[in-house]
Each structure stands twice: as C-alpha cells, then as structure tokens.
C-alpha cells in the first residue's frame, strides 16, 4: 500500500477509534461525572436538537458573530491607523499592550458593572477582548511590509490609496488572518465566559447550569456542543482563509519544496 493511503487510513481511523473507545469504556459507567456516551448523546439530542437551539444556541452564535465582526473591523481600522500615524502609535501602543495583557475574561466582570449583563455586555466583552490580536497583527503586518515592496511602490509612483489597498493590505494579509484567527478563539472563549457570568441564556449558561445541578450528561452534552462549535467556526475560518490567502499558502509550499 502507498504511504499516503496508510496515512489517510491512520488519520481517519484514530479519531474513530477514540470515539469507539469512549463509547465502550463508558458504557457501564456508574461514575456520576463520566456517564455513558450513549446517554450523553441522548441528552445532546434532547437539549440541542432543537429544543434549546433557537433560545440558546442561536443567541450565543448571534452574539459571537456580531461581536467578532465588530472586533475585526475595529481592529483592522485601528491597526491601519496605528501603523501609518506614528505619533498615535507612540502614544497608544503601551496602553494597547497593557490592555492586551489583561486576561480577556477578567474584563467581563468590569463590563457587567458598567453596562450590565444584557446582550450588549456580552457583545461588548467579545469586541473588547477579541479586538487586540487583530489590531496588533494588522499593525505589525503593515509595518513589516518588505522594504523592497515599499521601494517598488515608490519607483512606480503608486498613490497612497493604491498602496494601501493593493499592496499593504494584501501584504499584511497573512498576518492579519492569523490575528483574526486568534481573535476568533478569544471571542469564542469570552462568549462562553460572558454567559457563565450573569446570564440565563446561551450555551455557556446552560452548561454551567448543568454543572451546578450535577446533571453530568447535560454538562457533557454542552461540552460536546461547545467543542463542536469551536471546531466548526475554526473550520469555516480556515476555509475562508485558504481561499483568501491561496497565493500565500501556495508560495509557502513552493518555498518549502525548493
């Protein structure tokens, strides 16, 4: 058999084997915190397909989407500003690094005190926490545009808007994308945390509720759903990224092959 085929089989078989092991290993489980996978899946179906889907899952995802998009837009715009206007950068870069250093989840209690615990708070938390990776990546990406590329722009006398749109933005693209990916992960974490603190709706709240009432199967179902959402959002992001940055991925592959 070809090595590629063996690898493919190994790659797909391992996760399947893990799932089977879990199923078999937990089937007889009497441990209150490790219920049988079968009952977890049963609760998963009861809870999320589609009983609480509209009331909780969609609410969570909506907050995530709105918060994340806002964070990315603000991050890119501010990053551009910081990268291109040096005095602004000198003034606020230390502050940005300081705020970035604060664990994003710690901002949730603060935002609760300032704007309460509604959807606004959750979205604001997501925006505030997810903003910084994108902002910093954009700033770094623009600032580290290759000197030769800058010279090419000058020699061919490209205008400032043209430089921004056609050269700096695509050149910083790979970095911005990795910043956005980190932002996405943080947004997801903060989504959960903001629901665990001061909320009765959303997947995070449901999972915490299950924990506090010792409904282990419900809690596992929540963990499973959150894991699945984390995985899927990341997957969607990866697909979008590999579309937008096909040139980058291709050139990297080329570079490695040579």
């Amino acid at each position: 058999m070809k090595p590629a085929a063996v690898n493919w089989i190994l790659g797909t078989a391992t996760p399947v084997a893990c799932a089977v092991l879990w199923w078999a290993g937990s089937a007889e489980s009497a441990n209150p915190f490790f219920p049988p996978l079968a009952s977890i899946l049963g609760r998963f179906e009861d809870l999320w397909l589609f009983d609480h889907f509209g009331s909780d899952v969609l609410v969570s995802l909506g907050n995530l989407a709105v918060g994340y998009v806002l964070a990315v837009v603000i991050g890119v715009v501010l990053g551009f500003l910081f990268a291109t206007v040096a005095p602004v950068r000198w003034m606020f870069e230390p502050v940005v690094h300081f705020v970035r250093g604060i664990p994003p989840v710690a901002l949730v209690p603060i935002l609760i005190t300032v704007i309460g615990f509604g959807a606004e708070m959750r979205i604001a938390s997501i925006v505030l926490a997810a903003l910084f990776p994108t902002l910093i990546a954009t700033m770094d990406g623009i600032r580290s545009v290759d000197g030769v590329v800058r010279d090419v722009c000058a020699v061919y006398r490209l205008g400032p808007m043209e430089r921004m749109a056609r050269v700096y933005l695509p050149s910083a693209g790979p970095r911005i994308a990795s910043g956005m990916q980190v932002s996405l992960q943080i947004a997801f974490i903060v989504m959960i945390a903001s629901e665990m603190l001061g909320s009765s709706q959303g997947i995070g709240a449901m999972t915490l509720l299950a924990q506090q009432s010792f409904l282990a199967a419900d809690m596992w179902a929540g963990i499973l759903l959150l894991g699945l959402i984390g995985f899927l959002t990341n997957l969607v992001f990866d697909i979008a990224k590999s579309r937008a940055l096909a040139w980058y991925i291709g050139s990297r592959r080329q570079e490695r092959a040579s």
């Binding site: 590329v149 010279d151 020699v155 490209l158």
Partner: protein
Amino acid sequence: MIATSAQDPHAHVESARRGTTRPESAPRGAEPRLDVAGLGKSYGSGATAKEVIGDLTFSVEAGEVVCIVGPSGIGKTTLLKCLAGLHPASKGEMRIDGRTISGPPPEIALVFQDYSRSLMPWLTVEKNLLLPLRHLRLPRTELRARCEEALEAVGLTHAAGQYPWQLSGGMQQRVAIARALAYRPEILIMDEPFASVDAQTRFDLEDLCLRIRDGFGMTILVVTHDIDEAVYLADRVVVLGSRPARVLQVVDVDLPSPRDQISTRALPEFAAQRTEVLALIKRPA
C-alpha cells in the same frame, strides 16, 4: 513585435504616456540623458553617519547600455536607489535631460536586485504588470496591449495568469523586467538582474536586454558582478572602487554590434576588454 516597432519607438512611448508629443526642439543629445555629478551619499546622520558613496561623476547618453561593476557592498545598489529617487543624495546632483532628480522620476523604471521580493506574490503575473499602470488611467485596451507586448518581449505570454512563485527564478526575473517594460520608461535601470540564474538563461536575458534597447530605444543602466557580462552588454563600463565609492575608470567597450554570445565572447578584443576591467577590480584597494 520588437523587430517591427517604429523607428523611433521611444518618441511613441513618450507620447503614449504623456498624451502629448514632446517638443522636437528639445536639445536632445546636446546634454546626456542621465548625468551624475559629484554624487555623494551617506546613511544615517551625526556620529553614526556612514559615507557609502564618496564622489561619483559619470553620464549616460540616450540609447546607451552602461554597466556598473564593483565589489560587493561598494554602494552600487545605493547609487541606483538614489537615481530612482528613493534616497536623496547627500551631496552633488543627478539630472535627467538636464532636470534635477528629486523624488522618483517618471522616466525611470528600476528592476530590483531581489526579484523574488519585488514581485507581489498575491498578484498574478499580469496583475503585477498592471499594478504600476493603473494610476496612469489608460484605456483598457491600451493596458492589455502593453502587458501583452511586454510579456511577449520576455517570452512569457503563456505565464500571464500564473503567480510569480509558480515560476522559476529566471522567469521571475523576466517578469520583473516585463513590468518595467510595460511601464515604458525612458531609462531602464537594473540591479544585478541576472544573478542566480543558470548560464543558459543568463545568456538569453543578456540578449533580451540588448534587444530591448534596440526595440524600445531605451537607455539602460545595469549593475552586475560579472565582468564578462558587463563587457558583453555595455557600450561603456563604469568601474567603481575604494571606500567610500568613487569611479575608478570608465571603460569604453569597442565590440561590434549586434553581439553574439559565442562569437563576440570569442573575440580577442573581448578578452582584452575584460582583462582591462578585471585588472581594475583585482587591484588592491
């Protein structure tokens, strides 16, 4: 394409770019196309200033190919960047047709030493060519025609839709040259354009360079490490030396045209010319 271009294709390029015809009364030839007079360049300022170019004087006539040779780090790239208006001169003057250079002059296109970094990897070959043309606000057909012509000149018509990193080094270098050609500069400046390509490709690119001069009527300035190449290409070779850099000598190359890779290089005059340059370079600093 090149063979069939107009007798004064340059005037044609001119008018195409500017939309007006250059006044024929301009004292062409009366003064050199490109003129470097007492140029000096230091990097940094104050105590950390580093004088790279001491005092350079030379000139390039319209339609000439001039090669610049000199050891690594002497300041060849620095000189070209000054000419292209990327760095201001620290002292002395650079003039194009008598007008002092300040800021990137529209007459000049520069092909960078590091082609792999000067091409935008996110643009296809064609889009790379179009990048500097967009702001000229030319009609679509004109844009397309220019790209096609330039790609044809470098023999890469088939690669228009590919990305630079999908091409070999020699092909990338040719794309960078094509981009400069499509821009239709009056003066084409190239920084070690043929380093790190194999001998065969190098020969082809050298001949391409001579063909461009003849076909587009451009004035060409080439920096190279390779003395054989300099002698083969140039009408004149400017030899740089000492630190800070100055012109050791300008060697006039007297070889018949058109040149041919095998027969020209086999001429005894060729050997004599390259020995002359070699001796200048090898001379202890």
